[in-house]
């Protein structure tokens, strides 16, 4: 036994076989990995955000907050109704607006506007926000998410395309301070 060579021809071929398979696996891992991570790389390369028209300014009476809907800019064939998105539009005065995401800043449930008490309330865990979107009470740690907007030729347009989440990139986007308005 002791005199047996440690590396026979067969063993070498077996090891080369493993190496060969490893190389093929590594080569295949590149396209597979790119496929799996495509939703992330797409966001990095092109971004998901686009300017989307919401409607004419005169559809939103001054001093009031109204529900508006828009179609998400990225649409795939199997999306159905899920690309239709709701948001709250607060027309402050003139060309001054605030456009709030429908998603509560706590866990994303749809908030509802109550004109009489001037509050947004969340049905899930009881988060409440004032008319300007700032936090009033409940579990949210921040105010409502705002879409950047601009008014051109009497048309209000928002920058949208990604569901806002507490840790998401859109969470930090400017709202009131938007210079593009």
């Amino acid at each position: 036994m002791a005199n047996e060579p440690t590396m026979t021809r067969r063993r070498l071929f077996a090891k080369l076989g493993i190496l060969f398979n490893g190389c093929v696996a590594a080569a295949l891992a590149v396209p597979i990995g790119r496929f799996v991570l495509s939703s992330i790389t797409h966001a990095r390369a092109n971004g998901y955000l686009t300017w989307v028209p919401l409607g004419r300014v005169n559809e939103f009476p001054e001093g009031e907050t109204r529900l508006a809907t828009f179609r998400n800019p990225l649409v795939e064939p199997t999306d159905g109704k899920t690309v239709d998105t709701a948001c709250w539009v607060r027309h402050i005065a003139g060309e001054q607006f605030q456009v709030f995401a429908i998603n509560c800043a706590h866990l994303g449930c749809p908030v509802r506007w109550f004109q009489q008490s001037g509050l947004f309330m969340c049905p899930c865990h009881g988060g409440a926000y004032y008319r300007d979107g700032s936090r009033a009470s409940g579990p949210p740690e921040r105010g409502l998410f705002e879409y950047p907007y601009k008014v051109e030729n009497g048309l209000i347009t928002i920058q949208a395309g990604e569901t806002p989440t507490p840790g998401g990139p859109t969470a930090a986007l400017p709202g009131k301070e938007c210079s593009c308005a």
């Binding site: 939703s39 797409h42 998901y48 999306d79 109704k81 049905p123 409940g138 579990p139 989440t165 969470a171």
Partner: protein, 488 residues
């Protein structure tokens, strides 16, 4: 008969499975493990098999497309013969499976089954629990209705809070920037291929180890597990006081499994399938999403944690729990197995069971959620308006119109987010009421900007009438004296 045995022999010559099957079924188990306490694992396995069969049947009709999933579920419920029953079996089967896995886990924990040499059986079991919960969540997503849609939003909101990789993880989870077709497709792949595949593999490992290492013997107080001696002691036990698994142990497993299947079928028959609730259209915002029962406790925890604690608890909590479960067999791999000598183990199980039950019960009532239609749907009860002045009645109107009822109950009707106000005048003086209404505080929004002075006066006048007949409203004694002095 001769023909059958000839055919059997023909197959066995090629498969060579008869001997290992005979060995497995004839393996000796300690007599006292043939107990009704040892039936939960096999029952969970049986329900898993039911889930496989009913899942395949549902896939014959279900369409994993965000545009059509909901309609295909409606077709299953209403058009396809017995479709509703198969959906009911699958839905109730999932509830039973989660419950059985938890009960099984509790039993093996209390019986010290995770100790040497069954540490890996326990660890594989922990992953089986995780996969079962993963199946439960992804299954709820496939029931693509409003609860599923907003449930995914909640999942995304939680995932987004992971430091650094949060946003990328959300895009990976949703398959794009929003909850849409790609999201449902990937949850379909998870629910139908990925997790079941892993489950089957892990279940096989789990069972293989039960066969190789033997079923955990009935724990006797004082019979201490030691790595050096346990295996020989166990073999001595099965020799001295053991029986063949088939039929000595298996008949109870079979009876209980059949009973559970019958219970699942009875629930499916009596209660029917779950949902789907409303169409998954994000522009329909009149919805109050709630998770299925196995995640209700989490829904409650997320409401009750202080805001600043929430993200750390969400991110660190699961890691601590997982580490605890995985390290358990290494931290206490030897020693006493009997629950009679392990008071901390018993207390831990009781604490967890009570906490889970309490949170689930709370989540069922969701006292933290405003009742969105109380202001328009639940008028101020008449007894609060008897013998009141015009101003006070005006106040009652303000109370109703300003949606106070959404969070504050009167006579049990209305929201429970804030305290019930039936006796608020006993607790707060006029000044305190005004301050509370205008400035808010203690989780109440400030109404200063939304109430005119006249409305505030009327509202507080009404609130001051809210005290029991025999009990005076609270008043500021010092203020009376000051006013008296001023008038002199």
């Amino acid at each position: 008969m001769r023909l059958i045995s000839q055919i059997g022999a023909w197959f066995d010559q090629r498969l060579q499975l008869a001997a290992p099957i005979r060995e497995a079924s004839g393996h000796r188990i300690p007599r006292n493990t043939a107990s009704w306490w040892y039936v939960f694992g096999s029952a969970a396995f049986t329900v898993f098999c039911l889930q496989l069969v009913t899942g395949i049947l549902l896939a014959l009709t279900y369409v994993p497309s965000a545009g059509e999933a909901w309609s295909s579920l409606q077709a299953l419920n209403h058009d396809v013969t017995m479709g509703w029953f198969i959906r009911g079996l699958h839905g109730w089967g999932s509830n039973f499976m989660v419950a059985l896995v938890l009960i099984h886990m509790m039993q093996v924990f209390l019986f010290g089954a995770y100790k040497f040499p069954r540490e890996l059986t326990w660890i594989v079991g922990v992953f089986l629990l995780l996969m079962t919960l993963g199946m439960a969540f992804s299954g709820q997503v496939l029931r693509f209705d409003q609860d599923a849609y907003w449930g995914l939003g909640i999942g995304a909101s939680i995932v987004s809070r992971v430091p650094l990789i949060g946003p990328a993880a959300v895009q990976l989870m949703l398959g794009g920037p929003i909850i849409a077709g790609a999201t449902l497709s990937r949850f379909f792949a998870l629910h139908v291929f990925v997790i079941p595949g892993m489950l089957i593999g892990f279940v096989c490992l789990h069972l293989l180890m039960v066969l190789k290492l033997g079923i955990n013997e009935w724990p006797m107080p004082g019979r201490i597990v030691k790595r050096a001696t346990y295996i020989s002691e166990y073999h001595a036990l099965t020799e001295k006081d053991g029986e063949a698994f088939v039929p000595y142990g298996i008949w109870k497993d079979m009876f209980f499994a059949a009973f559970i299947l019958l219970a699942v079928a009875a629930c499916a028959l009596y209660f029917g399938p779950f949902g789907p609730t409303g169409r998954p259209d994000p522009t329909i915002i009149q919805t109050a999403p709630k998770p299925d029962y196995f995640f209700l406790w989490l829904y409650a925890v997320l409401s009750l944690l202080p805001p600043s604690m929430e993200t750390p608890a969400l991110l660190i909590g699961p890691v601590v729990v997982m580490l605890g479960l995985l390290l358990l067999p290494f931290l206490s791999g030897e020693g006493e197995k009997s629950w009679k000598r392990r008071p901390i183990a018993v207390l831990t199980v009781m604490l967890l069971a009570i906490a889970l039950a309490t949170f689930t019960q709370l989540a069922d009532h969701a006292p933290w959620s405003p009742v969105m239609d109380a202001w328009s749907g639940a008028p101020v009860p008449a007894q609060f308006l008897k013998h009141t002045s015009a101003l006070e009645r005006q106040g009652a109107l303000v109370f109703q119109v300003k949606q106070c009822r959404n969070c504050h109950a009167l006579d049990g009707g209305g929201g429970k987010r804030g305290p019930a106000l039936d006796r608020v005048a006993v607790r707060l003086t006029q000044d305190q009421l005004i301050r509370q209404v205008i400035q808010g505080g203690g989780n109440m929004p400030a109404y200063g900007k939304n109430l005119s002075p006249a409305e505030t006066t009327a509202l507080v006048a009404f609130l001051e009438t809210l005290h029991p007949a025999g009990q005076a409203a609270a008043r500021d004694a010092a203020r009376d004296i000051v006013l008296e002095k001023g008038s002199q």
